[in-house]
Amino acid sequence: MKSFKNYLLIGLMTMSFAFVGCSDDDVPAAENEEEIINSVTLTFTPAGGGSAIVATYLDADGEGTGNPVLSDIELNTQTTYTLNITMANTLESPAEDITVEVEEEGDEHQLFFGFSSGVFSDPSGTGNIGSTGTINYTDQDDSGNPIGLSTTWITTNQGSTGGEFRVLLKHQPDIKSATSTSSDGETDIDITWTINVSE
C-alpha cells in the first residue's frame, strides 16, 4: 500500500511538471495593510502652559483576537485644553500615519465625541454622538465643515473619576455636510477611554 501510494505521488508530480508554468511557487506580494488603524493617541495640551497629557490606544495584533491596551485620560479641573488626535497603523513598517490621510480627505471625515456629563463645562452636555450637543472644533475642511483632529475643552470645577470619553471617526464620502451626524457613513474608529478629572 505504501509503495503504491509513492508511485502515485511520483506520477502525480510528473504530471504536474508537464504543465510548465502552472506549478509555480509564488508567494503573495506583501501588501500594505491600509485597512487597519491600530494606534490612536489623544494629546491634551493645557492652554496656560504645562506638560501635555497623553492617552493612548494600541491594538498590537490588529485583526487578531488580542484585545487592545488603553491608558486613562487624567485631566485637571478648571483647565482649558487643546486636544489633538493622531492615528497610525503600526502593523506596517515603518508605521503609517493615518492622520495625514484623514486631514487630506477632510471633506469625507468627521470626528464625533461623547463624554460623561459633568466632566466638561464647555462643551457642556454629553457630546454629539447620537445627541445634539456641540463640540468646539478648531479645524475645518475645504467646505468649511469641522473635521475634529483639533478641538478645545474646558473641564468643570468638580473632580470626577471613572467617566467615559468616546471618540468616533466617521467616513462620510459624498455624505458629509453641515447637517450630517454621527449616524451617517462608516465607522473608522470607535474607542471609549476612561477619563478622570482631579484638582
Binding site: 504536474s16 503573495p28 487597519i36 485583526e63 490621510e101 469625507e108 467616513h171 470607535d190
Partner: protein, 791 residues
C-alpha cells in the same frame, strides 16, 4: 497528448483492415422521445434513406431496423405534427436517441448519440430539466437548478445564488459545466456559480453521493449543466431572445446561430443583461444592479470512429450587493437589523457601487470519443480561468481597489473507458487529473484573506453494473490522491508555507428493480472533500464577521484563552478530510395520467467543517464577534416528493415537496440556514396557442434553529452570552410565506411570447436561506415579458 493521437491513428489503421465485405447483418436500435415532455413517442416512422428498410417505434419509443448492408446510412424520422429529421448514422456509434420537436414549438428535433457523462450511475435517479429559454433570460443559474424538489438556493440577495442539494451547498455540491468539473472560488457562501443562465439548455440533477463518478466534493449531489448542442444536417438557423423585467428594470438579450453539415456542425451564442436596483414591496434595494456578458462557440465533428468537440465560453459579471447590508461593528449591525428601511436607500439607479463583485469565467474544452465496436474511449481536456474581484466599502481611494483579487487557473483531464460487456456485466473505468493554481493578485492593500496555492489531484475509478432481467446491481470504487502546496502571508506580512497530502477511497453500491409501471432504486455511497483553503487559513474580516481558519488560532483551555499569533501545521492540529455516507432511495410510479416520485435520504457526515462563534474582539472600529472554523459530526436527512397528474392533453398539475432535517451530532445543536419545508404547485392549461400556468410557492418557517442572540445583547469586554460549543443566529427565522406566480405563453410559428408575474400580491417576505434577510425584505412584484424568435 501526442501519444494519444498515435494510439488513435494506429487503431484507425488496424480497424480499416477488417471493415470490408460486410454482409447485410447490421442493425440499428434507437429510441424516439418528445423533446418537450421527455416522454417516449410511439408510432414514429424511422426509414433508411434510399432503401426500403424501416421501422415504427413501439410503446417505449424504441425501434429496431435489421438487415442493413452499409457501414453508414441516413436515417429519416417522421411523426405527424412533429418536425421531420434526418440523421447520418454509422455503426461505430451508440444507440441514437431521437428527440422530436412538435411543429408548434420553437425547438428543433435533434439526435443525441453519446450523452455527455453518459456513464452515470444507474441506481441514482437523474432528474432531467429542459430549460425554457424564455424563463432563463436575466435570471441566475442557481435559480434554474431549484426547479426540482430537494434543490433549493442559498442567496446573498437576488444576484448571488448558489444551489443547495438536500441542505448542502458550496464545496459540498459539485457542478459539472458542459462535462467539465466547474472551477471557481466555490468556498464562499457569497460566491455565485459564475455560469450564464441563458446558456443553459439542459440540467441534470443527481442527488446521491456520486463522488465515485465525479470526484471529491459531491457530498450533497451533482448538478450537470449543458449548453445547447449544435445539430448536424441543418441549414444556417438561429434564435433571438429578448426579455424585460419590471423589478430592476432589466433588459436581456440573447442570440444564437447554428449550422450543421453531414460531418460537422457549429453553434455560437452571445447574450447580455443589464439590471438596475431591485425593489422590495415597500422600498428600493439600493445597489442591487447587475451586468452580465457571455459569449460561447462550439464545433463538433462526426467521423466513423471518432467524434471531436471543441467548446469555448467567456462569461463576465458585475454584481451589486445591497448597500444597507454593510455594517461597521456590532452596534452598526444592530442598527441595520432594526431599521425598517435599509440604510443608504436611494432612488432607482443602474449604477453599481461598493460592495460589488466582478468575476470572469473562461472555459476551453477539447473532447473526443472513440468508438470501437463494443467499447468506447472518451478523452477530455479543459482549461478554465476564473478571476474574482470583491470590492468592499473601504476608506478613501481603497474603494477603487478590490479587497479580494484572486486568479484561479484549472486544467482538467478526464479519460473514460467503457469496456466491452462481459456477459451481463458492463462498466466504465476512468482517470481524472486536475491541476489548480490559485494566485492572489497584488494591489489589494490588505493582507490576502486566503493564501496562494496549487493543487494536483489524481482520481481513478471503476463502476460496474450487472443487469439481470428487471434487476440492475451496481458497484463502484474510486481512489483520489491530492497534493496541495500553500504559500501565504501572516498578519505581520511574514511568509508561511505548507505542503499537504490527502487521499481517500470512496465506494458506491446500488440496486435498481423495475416493474412495468414501477421502479425502486436504492444506493449507498461515500463522498469526501479536503478542507477548503479558507477553512484552514482564513484570517480576519470577511464581509461583516471576523473568522479564523483551523490553522490560524490556538486554544488554551487552561486559562480559557485564544491566540491568533501563529500559523499552525497539521502536526499542531490534525485536520482530516470531511467524509460523508449517503443513502438515497427513489420510488417511481407512472401510469397514463399519474407520475409519482418519492425520494428519502440520509447523509451521515463526519469531520463536518463549520464556523462557530468563539468570542468578542475589540478593534479600533468597535466590537465584533469572531468565529473559528472547526469540525464536528453532522446528519442531514429528509425527503423529496414529486407528483404529476395529467387530466387530459391540455390540463396538468405538478406538486413538489421538500423537507430537510439537519443536526450537529457532535454538539447536539442546530445549524443556521437549513432550508425549511418548501411546497411548489404548478397548474398548466393549454388553450389553442396559449399556455396558462399558475405556480404558487409556500415555504414554512424554520423551527429547528440555533438560539438567537440579538447584536445589542453583546457587550464589549463581556463574556459571550451563549454556549460556545454550537452556533447562534442574530435574528429569528423569518415567517412562513405564500407567493402567487402566474404566466401566459403564446406560441405561433416562429414566435413565442411569455408574460409572467411573480409575487403578484406584492407580499412582504424573507427567505431563511438568503443572507440579506437580516437587512431587507425579498423582492416585490415582478412582471416579465420575454419573446423568442426562431429563424
Amino acid at each position: 497528448m501526442m501519444r494519444y493521437f498515435l494510439f488513435v491513428s494506429l487503431l484507425v489503421t488496424s480497424m480499416s483492415g477488417f471493415s470490408q465485405d460486410t454482409p447485410c447483418d447490421r442493425s440499428i436500435k434507437g429510441q424516439v422521445i418528445d423533446i418537450d415532455t421527455n416522454e417516449p413517442l410511439p408510432f414514429a416512422t424511422v426509414k433508411i434513406v434510399g432503401t426500403s428498410l424501416g421501422a415504427v417505434s413501439n410503446e417505449e419509443g424504441s425501434f429496431l431496423i435489421t438487415g442493413i448492408c452499409e457501414d453508414e446510412v441516413d436515417l429519416e424520422i417522421r411523426f405527424v405534427g412533429y418536425k421531420t429529421l434526418t440523421h447520418h448514422h454509422d455503426f461505430h456509434h451508440n444507440t441514437p436517441i431521437i428527440y422530436m420537436a412538435a411543429d408548434e414549438t420553437l425547438l428543433e428535433s435533434v439526435v443525441v448519440e453519446q450523452e455527455l457523462n453518459a456513464h452515470e450511475l444507474k441506481t441514482l435517479e437523474p432528474i432531467n430539466i429542459k430549460v425554457d429559454q424564455l424563463a432563463s433570460l436575466g435570471t441566475s443559474a442557481g435559480d434554474l437548478f431549484s426547479q426540482s424538489a430537494g434543490v433549493s438556493t442559498l442567496k446573498t440577495g437576488q444576484n448571488i445564488v448558489k444551489p443547495v442539494v438536500h441542505g448542502l451547498h458550496s464545496n459540498r455540491v459539485l457542478i459539472i459545466n458542459n462535462g467539465v468539473r466547474h472551477s471557481y472560488q466555490s468556498w464562499g457562501a457569497e460566491h455565485g456559480v459564475e455560469i450564464d443562465a441563458s446558456q443553459i439548455d439542459r440540467i441534470q440533477l443527481i442527488k446521491g453521493a456520486s463522488t465515485v463518478r465525479y470526484g471529491s466534493d459531491a457530498l450533497g449531489g451533482v448538478i450537470l449543466v449543458n449548453a445547447p448542442e449544435s445539430s448536424f444536417n441543418t441549414k444556417l438557423n438561429g434564435e433571438a431572445n429578448v426579455g424585460f423585467q419590471s423589478n430592476g428594470r432589466s433588459l436581456s438579450g440573447e442570440i444564437s446561430l447554428n449550422q450543421g453539415f453531414e460531418r460537422a456542425a457549429w453553434i455560437a451564442t452571445a447574450s447580455a443583461t443589464k439590471q438596475g436596483d431591485l425593489n422590495a414591496p415597500d422600498y428600493q434595494l439600493t445597489n442591487t444592479g447587475k451586468e452580465e456578458i457571455s459569449l460561447t462557440a462550439g464545433a463538433k465533428f462526426h467521423f466513423p470512429i471518432v467524434d471531436l468537440k471543441v467548446y469555448v465560453s467567456h462569461f463576465e459579471q458585475t454584481l451589486g450587493i445591497l448597500r444597507g447590508s454593510v455594517s461597521d461593528n456590532l452596534a452598526g449591525l444592530a442598527e441595520a437589523i432594526r431599521s425598517p428601511i435599509p440604510s443608504n436607500t436611494k432612488s432607482f439607479s443602474y449604477e453599481i457601487n461598493n460592495p460589488r463583485q466582478e468575476t470572469i469565467h473562461d472555459l476551453l474544452k477539447l473532447e473526443s470519443a472513440l468508438f470501437l465496436g463494443e467499447q468506447q474511449f472518451d478523452f477530455q481536456y479543459a482549461l478554465q480561468r476564473n478571476q474574482r474581484k470583491e470590492f468592499d466599502v473601504r476608506r478613501g481611494t481603497n474603494n477603487e481597489r478590490p479587497a479580494i483579487n484572486l486568479n484561479l487557473m484549472t486544467h482538467t483531464i478526464d479519460i473514460d473507458w467503457d469496456h466491452p460487456s462481459k456477459g451481463l456485466l458492463a462498466g466504465t473505468l476512468g482517470a481524472q487529473f486536475i491541476n489548480q493554481n490559485n494566485d492572489n493578485r497584488p494591489g489589494t492593500n490588505t493582507i490576502p484573506f486566503v493564501p496562494n496555492y496549487n493543487t494536483n489531484t489524481l482520481g481513478l475509478f471503476a463502476i460496474e453494473s450487472l443487469e439481470k432481467e428487471s434487476l440492475t446491481y451496481e458497484a463502484g470504487i474510486r481512489f483520489d490522491l491530492m497534493n496541495m502546496n500553500v504559500r501565504g502571508r501572516d498578519s505581520n506580512n511574514d511568509i508561511y508555507r505548507d505542503n499537504l497530502n490527502y487521499q481517500n477511497f470512496t465506494f458506491t453500491l446500488g440496486l435498481l428493480k423495475e416493474w412495468p409501471n414501477f421502479s425502486i432504486r436504492t444506493n449507498i455511497g461515500t463522498a469526501w472533500r479536503a478542507p477548503n483553503i479558507n477553512e484552514l487559513y482564513s484570517f480576519g474580516k470577511h464581509q461583516s464577521v471576523f473568522e479564523f481558519g483551523l490553522w490560524r488560532y490556538e486554544l488554551f483551555p487552561s486559562n480559557d484563552s485564544i491566540s491568533t499569533q501563529n500559523v499552525l501545521t497539521n502536526d499542531d492540529r490534525e485536520v482530516e478530510s470531511e467524509r460523508g455516507l449517503k443513502w438515497i432511495g427513489t420510488i417511481n410510479y407512472h401510469s397514463n395520467d399519474w407520475k409519482v416520485e418519492f425520494t428519502p435520504y440520509v447523509n451521515w457526515i463526519n469531520n463536518y467543517f463549520f464556523l462557530r462563534p468563539y468570542g468578542i474582539t475589540e478593534t479600533v472600529r468597535g466590537t465584533f464577534p469572531y468565529f473559528i472554523h472547526d469540525q464536528t459530526d453532522a446528519i442531514y436527512t429528509g425527503l423529496d416528493l414529486n407528483i404529476q397528474k395529467m387530466w387530459n392533453e391540455s390540463f396538468s398539475a405538478d406538486f413538489k415537496l421538500a423537507y430537510v432535517y439537519a443536526k450537529d451530532r457532535g454538539n447536539d445543536q442546530r445549524f443556521v440556514g437549513i432550508p425549511p419545508l418548501n411546497i411548489q404547485l404548478s397548474l398548466e392549461k393549454r388553450i389553442g396557442n396559449f399556455v396558462f400556468e399558475f405556480y404558487p410557492e409556500f415555504e414554512a418557517s424554520q423551527s429547528l434553529t440555533p438560539s438567537v442572540i440579538a447584536p445589542e445583547n453583546f457587550e464589549s469586554n463581556a463574556d459571550l452570552p451563549f454556549d460556545r460549543s454550537g452556533t447562534f443566529d442574530f435574528v429569528d427565522s423569518p415567517d412562513a410565506f405564500l407567493l402567487m406566480n402566474a404566466s401566459i405563453k403564446y406560441t405561433k410559428k416562429n414566435l413565442s411570447i411569455k408574460l409572467s408575474g411573480e409575487n403578484l400580491l406584492n407580499s412582504r417576505y424573507r427567505r431563511y436561506t438568503d443572507n440579506i434577510r437580516y437587512y431587507a425584505d425579498d423582492l416585490g412584484t415582478n412582471v416579465g415579458l420575454a419573446a423568442s424568435y426562431v429563424f
